[in-house]
């Protein structure tokens, strides 16, 4: 089996890029990643993006980005899996390299959210839910998630304020991260006093709206131009029913758990080998359900572990090491690629103030819908 090495990486700051288009952001990140890898012409381009057709009236992203990078002739396509689009773009690139079809693949995750009016952005973020039975009735993904949050709190006797531990961790880690959208620490009181969005979820429970692009160059051993310092040990994905309330167990993120099991088996690792994790902390409750599905916490105990410091930057399993979706920001289809770039920095010792000590193995978790799509990557330091 071929190895998949990370040859180069780049990202833009997440936030309000009023002066930059979807294409501007994608080209900026893609061009910088190719330079970082020392590769002029990749064999393939894969773009992770959720709703460019809705936000920017632009599809055919593969061709327009290849053309803009003066890479006409390079095969290029877009991969979409709602919020997991970025990770699924990496998953496709990983397969292309392992199959031997390409020795180098440029993966770009990009999303442009701020060109939309706020209510259109709510709709865009809800496009992964049913058009006929959710969107038609004006029900947003956040509202769906709020219902699950109520049930989760009730089932495990967790209070509203207890959930706030996750955004507090995320914001703390975002403070020193130059590319993060919100570099401001928050308290549990800040969360409970923030604007109600869809109770019990408040503004500071929810990942923000922002623009951004991130890119990595993945290579086989034959494709590298310099000795790579990190590799993708496993890339796995799974799915579950679109509606969380149709599942046998609403409190089990089964797609995540299945993707995790596949990834660990492929890499020949156990969860105890993981040094840090970038999790899909799009909502406080989703963060809790995610650490539980990933096996870092027992069922219903994610919040308790977080309160005890298990997930802090210097804890047993640091999570969201640059702020996660909540603090770094969540340019939706780009987020999975941001996670890869951030893990690459951890593994190569270039994470600065966000550095996790002795980081050798990282786990990345990206989710579409309310765990209807999930992808897990395991990255390791090489050598």
């Amino acid at each position: 089996m071929k190895k998949v090495l990370i040859a180069g990486a780049s990202l833009t700051k997440v936030g309000d890029h009023w002066n930059k288009s979807l294409l501007d952001l994608a080209v900026e990140a893609g061009s910088a990643a190719l330079k970082d890898a020392g590769i002029a012409i990749p064999d393939q381009i894969v773009v992770g993006n959720m709703f460019s057709g809705f936000s920017s009236l632009q599809e055919n992203l593969g061709a327009i980005i290849a053309d803009s990078l003066m890479l006409q002739g390079t095969p290029a396509l877009k991969v979409e899996s709602s919020g997991a689009s970025g990770a699924m773009a990496c998953n496709v690139a990983d397969s292309i390299i392992r199959s031997g079809q390409a020795n180098s693949v440029l993966v770009i995750g990009v999303e442009k959210m701020r060109d939309m009016e706020p209510n259109d952005a709510v709709h865009a973020a809800s496009l992964g839910e049913s058009a006929s039975f959710t969107q038609f009735f004006g029900i947003s993904q956040t509202a769906m998630c709020a219902l699950l949050t109520h049930l989760y709190m009730q089932e495990f006797e967790i209070s509203r304020d207890e959930l706030s531990v996750f955004p507090v961790i995320a914001h703390k880690n975002a403070v020193p991260a130059e590319h993060a959208q919100f570099r401001k620490a928050i308290t549990i009181t800040d969360v409970s006093r923030s604007m109600p969005v869809s109770d019990p979820l408040r503004l500071l429970d929810c990942a923000p709206v922002g623009d951004g692009a991130a890119a990595v160059v993945l290579c086989s051993e034959n494709g590298q131009t310099k000795n790579a310092e990190a590799e993708i040990s496993a890339s796995a994905a799974s799915t579950d029913s679109l509606n969380f309330f149709q599942r046998d167990d609403m409190f089990d993120f089964t797609a995540t758990r299945r993707a995790l099991a596949k990834a660990l088996a492929f890499a020949g690792l156990s969860i105890k080998d993981i040094d840090f994790a970038e999790i899909n902390d799009s909502y406080s409750s989703v963060a809790a359900l995610s650490v539980e599905a990933l096996g870092f916490s027992k069922r219903g105990e994610g919040v308790r572990d977080a309160k005890e410091g298990k997930f802090d930057l210097n804890g047993k399993i640091p999570i969201s090491t640059f702020g996660g979706l909540k603090g770094r920001g969540n340019p939706i289809g780009a987020t999975g690629v941001y996670q890869i770039v951030e893990a690459y920095r951890q593994l190569t010792g270039t994470a600065g103030a966000n550095q996790v000590k002795n980081a050798k193995t990282g786990l990345l978790h990206n989710m579409g819908g309310i765990d209807s799509s999930a992808a897990v990557h395991i990255l390791r330091r090489v050598g």
Binding site: S132, G138, L151, Q154
Partner: protein, 130 residues
């Protein structure tokens, strides 16, 4: 939107879902294969119109076209046949509602298409007074 709305009208007007001819399991929204036994032998089945509230939220997270309904109460409802569905709860304020409340389906205006002025109708739920 208009054609899709016309195609789905019986789903919206009558809460028309599916029933498995093999194992009798019922589903809404309708399914292509039975989610219990995997059978493709399915019949159309109207859902019961009463149920109880499992959870509800007062949502200010509003999609374009629903601005005039902000804030909306969205509920997770368990129908009398055990089918769970998410729908708007109308004619109530959040402080008048509680988990376990009995609700019934009603036929209401869902939204108005801005440009054409076409009105879309469908199910919502209201509390049953005792």
């Amino acid at each position: 939107m208009s054609i899709a709305y016309w195609r789905e009208r019986n789903r919206y007007y009558r809460i028309l879902g599916s029933k498995c001819k093999e194992c009798s399991a019922e589903f809404f929204p309708p399914v292509y294969k039975c989610r219990k036994c995997n059978s493709e032998k399915l019949a159309e089945q109207e859902m019961p119109k009463e149920g109880k509230v499992m959870a509800y939220t007062l949502s200010r997270d509003i999609i374009t076209g629903f601005e005039d309904q902000e804030p909306m109460i969205i509920g997770l409802i368990e129908l009398q046949n055990g089918v769970k569905m998410v729908a708007q709860i109308a004619d109530a304020s959040a402080d008048q509602l509680a988990v376990g409340d009995k609700v019934k389906a009603v036929f209401r205006r869902v939204s108005v298409n801005g440009e054409a002025g076409q009105i879309f109708y469908g199910y919502k739920f209201v509390k049953i007074d005792k």
